[in-house]
Amino acid sequence: MRVMVVIKANKDTETGAMPDEGLLTEMGKFNEELVKAGMMLAMEGLHPSSRGARVKFSGAKRTVIDGPFTEAKELIAGYWLWQVKSMDEAIEWVKRCPNPTGAESEIEIRQLFETEDFGAEFTPELREQEKRLLAQVAAKS
């Protein structure tokens, strides 16, 4: 299964100040560990909400609100996408993460929707050929 591991924002991430070098090195090491474990699918860090915007919906009306947004702990500062076997495995990895901002912070783990159904498949070329069979049958019957 896949999980999105969301790093919540705090005052520090919202100021837009880069973390200090020690923390960057630690996070770099952790990221490398994730890649070496074959589970890291993607990762992104986000600018502070001052460079973001929100679009509010109310019926047919749309209202644009420019950042920054105040409730820092409801905001996100970055995310990873991981391939894991279970939520427990994801939790175990998150526990190993260096404190992502150095200060009071939170990481949230959410499971992605996924179709678990796999079925028979031929090679693409043979399937292509069979697809044409279908089309011909449809055309002629």
Binding site: V35, K36, A37, G38, M39, L41, A42, L81, Q83, K85, S86, D88, E89, I91, E92, W93, E114, T115, E116, D117, F118, G119, A120, E121, F122, T123, P124, E125, L126, R127, E128, Q129, E130, K131, R132, L133, L134, Q136, V137, A139, K140, S141
Partner: protein
């Protein structure tokens, strides 16, 4: 923490740590079977202790230390202690020569090297293919005997016996715990990649059962492939295989309909293809081709298959597919790994690119091929191409023959419908 919570955490920790622990121990005791036993002992100790004491801050180090103590006990009992102590001493000496900063990095490297040794050992040619698959899933992926049995639709005792025998074979043959040297490295690596791809395909092309363990196999193979790509960074074919698996896995969501029926490539809703996996696959392919170029090596079979898969992945619609390029890639592939099935695929691609007559000439050449005797797709492809050339009587006969050979009911129905359509002659304009 309740005992149940602790057990779930321990399971997760075990999954993360076990391959590294087994690999580290195997270097120490030079016996993969014994290493796994010792690692299991450490797991049992954790299961006994952690629910009461709580989980240690660095559970991996705790497990490794516990297992190493057991290993030393074992060695002492086996009266090997002096020799091994000397070895361990030497190891510590060499490590002390390095600076403190280097040490952490060196230890990390060691873990990587040990894992690579474990992969090569588990795929050693003294073992049968089935044994290699079982050992890889057990030692590297941490699947239980029960999980492996379910994935391969065999009984648990069969898998257990396979694993026991495999470990004994490795010990009896005194297979060294090492990454093979240059001379045999290519052949050994191809054995490793073969095992991974077999595991992937077992999950991907599963027709029997809808057990969740089957897709799990794809995930395990892909994950292990990604790990291997980090361990053997300079091997183009490792990246080629990863690229192939990423791109194939990208279609997983689109290839099965609501009622479980297979959906053919050109009918698939390409919006459901996983673009993240496609991007990863194309990046891995790029890496494989670049590395191969730097090393002056021709593209290997996995890189070529990945390049073919990439042609489909890049086409936004089926009509945009670059069939001429696919046909050319198949030609290279068939020269490298001659196989009538690959040749049949090439024939289909050639027909798509250059017309049915060109494809039919290649298919006709395959008729005497004994390996394709009884293979329903040969007459199916031939029937299709004959129909396109308005040779309807021959086409009908081929479709009926294909229908009699296939074991898939849905496919049989399709082929019989097509045979009937051929009997009616040309399609209305």
């Amino acid at each position: 923490m309740t005992a149940a919570d602790a057990h779930r955490s321990i399971d997760a920790i075990w999954r993360i740590e076990q391959a590294k622990i087994i690999a580290g121990l195997a270097r120490m005791v030079r016996d993969v079977g014994l290493a796994e036993e010792l690692a299991q002992d450490a797991l049992v100790a954790a299961l006994e202790r952690w629910p009461a004491t709580g989980i240690p801050d660095n559970p991996g180090a705790w497990l490794m230390a516990t297992a190493k103590h057991r290993a030393i006990d074992r060695l002492r009992r086996a009266k090997l202690i002096e020799r091994k102590h000397a070895e361990l001493g030497r190891e510590i000496d060499t490590r002390q020569e390095t600076t403190a900063e280097d040490l952490a990095a060196a230890l990390d490297d060691d873990i990587g090297d040990d894992l690579l040794r474990l992969v090569f050992t588990a795929c050693h040619p003294v073992l049968s293919t089935e044994a290699r698959v079982a050992l890889i899933l057990r030692l590297l992926c941490g699947l239980t005997t029960e999980e492996i049995a379910r994935a391969f639709l065999v009984s648990e005792p069969t898998v257990a016996q396979r694993i026991v025998r495999a470990k004994r074979t490795l010990a009896d043959a005194r297979v060294p715990f090492e990454v093979p040297r240059e001379a045999e490295r290519a052949a050994r690596l191809s054995s490793v990649l073969g095992v991974l791809y077999l595991v992937f395909n077992e999950g991907y092309t599963a027709t029997a059962g809808d057990d969740w363990m089957r897709p799990q196999l794809c995930e395990e193979a892909l994950r292990l492939g990604r790990i291997l790509a980090e361990l053997a960074v300079h091997e183009p074919e490792v990246h080629g295989l990863v690229a192939l698996m990423e791109i194939q896995a990208s279609r997983a969501r689109a290839r099965v309909g609501r009622s479980g029926e297979p959906i053919l490539l050109l009918e698939q809703d390409r919006a459901r293809w996983d673009q993240l996996l496609i991007r990863r696959g194309l990046a891995a392919l790029e890496r494989a081709q670049q590395l191969g170029g730097e090393l002056g090596r021709a593209r290997g079979p996995y890189t070529l298959q990945a390049a073919i898969a990439a042609c489909h992945a890049r086409a936004r619609t089926g009509a945009e597919t670059d069939w001429a390029r696919i046909a050319a890639l198949y030609e290279t592939l068939v020269e490298l790994t001659p196989s009538p099935v690959v040749e049949l695929n090439r024939a289909v691609a050639v027909a798509m690119a250059f017309g049915p007559a060109a494809g039919l000439a290649l298919v006709d050449a395959l008729i005497p091929e004994p390996l394709l005797e009884g293979y329903h797709l040969l007459p199916a492809v031939r029937g299709d191409l004959l129909a396109k050339l308005d040779r309807f009587d021959e086409a009908r006969a081929e479709c009926e023959r294909a229908a009699s050979l296939t074991r898939n009911a849905r496919e049989r129905e399709l082929l019989l419908q097509r045979a009937a359509a051929c009997a009616r002659g040309p399609a209305p304009p």
